[in-house]
C-alpha cells in the first residue's frame, strides 16, 4: 500500500493535480496583482491604518494560537479533532464573566484591578480545564478503540450539546464583560500615531507567556517527555511505565487551560459573551492548527498568528470590506488542504501516518 502510494506521488502528477496547481498559481497571481493595485492607487492607506490592523492581527492571532494549541495537542496524541474545543473555551469565557461581575459588584475590582484580572483568568482556565477533563472521560474515552470517525462525530455532538446547554443555563441575553480600568482605552505609539488598545496588550502578552510556558513544559518536564512519547507510540510508552490514559487526560487539561485563557481574552476583546462565541473562533483556530500542520506545536502557534494577520491585514490589502475576513480565513484552509495537506510547517505527520 505505502509503496504504491509513494510511487504514484513520484511519477508525473496526474491531470487533475496539474489543473489544480494551475488554478492555484493563477489565483495567487490575481491576488498579488490586486494587492499591488490597492497599494499603488489607494492614497488614504496610511501607516496608522496598517499599524492598527497589524496590532489587531497580532491580538487575534494570539487568541487563535492558544485555541489552536488545544486542537493540536489532542490531535498529536489521539489523532482526533476535538470539535467541542471551541465550547470548552466558551465555558471559560462564561466563568470569566461571572467572576468579573461578582468581583465588580463586591467593589474588589475597583481596589485590586490587577488581582481581579489574574483571578478572572484563573477562574476561566480552571472551568475550561474541568470541562475538558469531563469531555474526555464521558465522551471520548469510551470510544478509544472505535474507528477514527466515531469520536469525530461524537465531538461534533458534544459541541452542539454544550452550546445548547449553555444557552439553556445562561440564557440567550448578551452578557457584557466589565473591564477593569487598567485595560480600558489605549495609547498611541510614538510618531506614527498607531492606536494600541490596552486590552490588546494584555491579550498579546498573556498569550505569548502561556505559549512559552507550554513550550518549556513540553520540552523539559517529565510530563512533556511522556506526552511526546505517547504521541509517537502508545504501546512503547506504556512499556516505559507511562500511564497512557493519565497522559491523555493531562493533555486535555493543558489544551483546555489554554482554551480557558483564550475564552477570557475573547470576552475582553469582544466585551461580551454568549453561548455561541465558541463556534467561529473554534473553527478558525482549527484552521490555524491545520495551517501550521496539525499535531505540530510550533505549527499551531505560527498558524494562529498567520491566520490572525491574514484576517486583519487581508481585507485592507485586497481593498475589500473587512466583513470578508471569514472568506479569507476559510479560503486559506481550503488552499492549504489542497496544496499542502501537512500544513505550512508540518512534515512530521506525513511520515508518521504514512
Amino acid at each position: 500500500m505505502t509503496i504504491k502510494a509513494t510511487r504514484r506521488a513520484r511519477t508525473l502528477p496526474d491531470f487533475t493535480t496539474l489543473i489544480l496547481w494551475g488554478l492555484g498559481g493563477i489565483s495567487l497571481l490575481v491576488i498579488l496583482y490586486r494587492i499591488f493595485v490597492v497599494l499603488t492607487t489607494q492614497e488614504e492607506l496610511t501607516a496608522t491604518i496598517w499599524g492598527f490592523q497589524l496590532v489587531n492581527g497580532l491580538v487575534l492571532g494570539g487568541v487563535y494560537a492558544l485555541i489552536a494549541l488545544g486542537y493540536t495537542l489532542v490531535y498529536g496524541i489521539l489523532f482526533m479533532i476535538n470539535f467541542a474545543h471551541g465550547e470548552v473555551m466558551m465555558l471559560g469565557a462564561y466563568a470569566g464573566y461571572f467572576t468579573l461581575t461578582y468581583l465588580n459588584a463586591r467593589g474588589f475590582m475597583e481596589t485590586n484591578p490587577i488581582l481581579t484580572l489574574v483571578i478572572t483568568f484563573v477562574a476561566g482556565m480552571l472551568v475550561s480545564m474541568l470541562a475538558g477533563i469531563t469531555l474526555e472521560r464521558v465522551a471520548y474515552r469510551p470510544l478509544r478503540r472505535a474507528p477514527r470517525l466515531v469520536p469525530l462525530i461524537t465531538a461534533i455532538g458534544a459541541s452542539i450539546f454544550l452550546q445548547n446547554a449553555a444557552l439553556r443555563i445562561f440564557g440567550s441575553k448578551l452578557r457584557v464583560y466589565v473591564k477593569p480600568s487598567v485595560i480600558e482605552g489605549g495609547f498611541r505609539l510614538g510618531e506614527s500615531g498607531i492606536f494600541v488598545p490596552r486590552t490588546g496588550v494584555l491579550i498579546f502578552v498573556t498569550s505569548i507567556l502561556l505559549m512559552i510556558g507550554l513550550y518549556l513544559l513540553v520540552q523539559y518536564t517529565k510530563l512533556g517527555k511522556a506526552m511526546r512519547a505517547v504521541a509517537e507510540d502508545k504501546d512503547t510508552a506504556a512499556l516505559m511505565g507511562i500511564d497512557v490514559d493519565r497522559v491523555i487526560v493531562q493533555t486535555f487539561m493543558l489544551g483546555s487551560l489554554l482554551a480557558g485563557a483564550a475564552g477570557v481574552m475573547l470576552g475582553f476583546h469582544n466585551s461580551q459573551v454568549n453561548a455561541f462565541i465558541g463556534f467561529i473562533p473554534g473553527i478558525k483556530a482549527f484552521t490555524a492548527a491545520v495551517l501550521g500542520g496539525i499535531g505540530n506545536i510550533p505549527g499551531a502557534m505560527f498558524g494562529g498568528f498567520f491566520l490572525g494577520l491574514a484576517e486583519s491585514l487581508g481585507p485592507t490589502a485586497l481593498g475589500i470590506p473587512s466583513q470578508y475576513k471569514d472568506v479569507i480565513a476559510f479560503s486559506l484552509l481550503v488552499l492549504v488542504l489542497i496544496f499542502r495537506p501537512t500544513g505550512l510547517l508540518g512534515e512530521v505527520l506525513s511520515e508518521k501516518r504514512a
Binding site: 517527555k225 511526546r228 509517537e232 506504556a238 512499556l239 516505559m240 511505565g241
Partner: protein, 234 residues
C-alpha cells in the same frame, strides 16, 4: 521467577497463543525460538501487559500479573524491549534513555545506570543529543536495549535483537546480552536466529503455531534432529 501457565491469547478472533506454559528462573537466559507467526512476540506482549490473555495465569515473583496494565508491570521490574526497536524517533537519545527510567525517583541510581548503559554502548555517548530516528539500525537496537535497562529491571524481555543487523553487529549485541545477564539481569530472549540464541541461553523453548513444541536445555535443543532440521538449517 516468571511462570506462564496454560496462557491463551487472542487477536480479535485469531487464536494466537494456544496454551503456553513456561518458566524462567532467576539469573537465567531463556530463549524462545520458532518461525514467523509462531507466537513468540505475542508471548512477550502478553507477559508485559500489552495484550491480556483470555485464559491462563502469569506469575511474576509470587504475584499474578495477567490482566495488569503494561505500565504497572514495568513498575514491577519487567522491561520489554520490543520487536523493531520502537525508538522514539523524534526524541533525542538522551530523552529516550530518560524515559526508560520514567518511574524511578532515585536520581543517583538513575545517573549510575545512565553511565552503565553508556559504558555498555559507547557509541550512544557521542549521539546523546541526536534524535533517535537518525541513528543507524544497530545504534537503535543498542538504544532500545539501553532504554530497557534504564528501568533497572529484574527481568529483560528481548524481542529479536538481531533483526536487520549486520552479522558483526549481531555478535556484538549478543556479547552484550551475555554481559547484562552476568551483571545480574534475567533475560527472556526471543530470536529467529536459533543457533545464536541457543548458544548463549541456558534453556530454550521451541514455539510452533501458538504451542510449545519442544523444551529443554539449550545444548540438548541444539543437538536435537528436529530443531536442526527446522531451525538450524540442517
Amino acid at each position: 521467577m516468571l511462570e506462564l501457565k496454560n496462557v491463551h491469547t487472542f487477536y480479535g478472533h485469531i487464536h494466537a497463543l494456544k496454551g503456553i506454559s513456561l518458566t524462567v528462573e532467576e539469573g537465567e537466559i531463556v530463549t524462545l525460538i520458532g518461525s514467523n507467526g509462531a507466537g513468540k512476540t505475542t508471548t512477550l506482549r502478553t507477559i508485559s501487559g500489552l495484550l491480556a490473555p483470555r485464559e491462563g495465569e502469569i506469575w511474576f515473583e509470587g504475584q499474578r500479573i495477567d490482566g495488569v496494565s503494561a505500565h504497572k508491570i514495568t513498575e514491577m521490574g519487567i522491561a520489554h524491549c520490543p520487536e523493531g526497536r520502537k525508538i522514539f524517533g523524534r526524541l533525542t537519545v538522551r530523552e529516550n534513555l530518560e524515559l526508560g527510567a520514567f518511574l524511578r525517583k532515585d536520581k543517583d541510581g538513575i545517573k549510575q545506570d545512565f553511565e552503565r548503559v553508556l559504558d555498555l554502548f559507547p557509541r550512544l555517548r557521542e549521539r546523546l543529543k541526536q534524535p533517535g530516528g537518525t541513528l543507524s539500525g544497530g545504534e537503535q537496537q543498542m538504544l532500545a536495549i539501553g532504554r530497557a535497562l534504564m528501568s533497572r529491571p529484574r527481568i529483560l524481555l528481548l524481542d529479536e535483537p538481531s533483526m536487520g543487523l549486520a552479522p558483526i553487529l549481531v555478535q556484538q549485541i549478543f556479547d552484550i546480552i551475555e554481559e547484562i545477564n552476568a551483571q545480574g539481569t534475567t533475560v527472556l530472549l526471543v530470536e529467529q536466529n536459533a543457533r545464536l540464541a541457543l548458544s548463549i541461553a541456558s534453556r530454550g523453548y521451541v514455539l510452533e503455531t501458538g504451542r510449545i513444541r519442544l523444551a529443554g536445555p539449550a545444548a540438548e535443543l541444539m543437538d536435537s534432529e528436529e530443531v536442526k532440521a527446522a531451525y538450524l538449517g540442517g
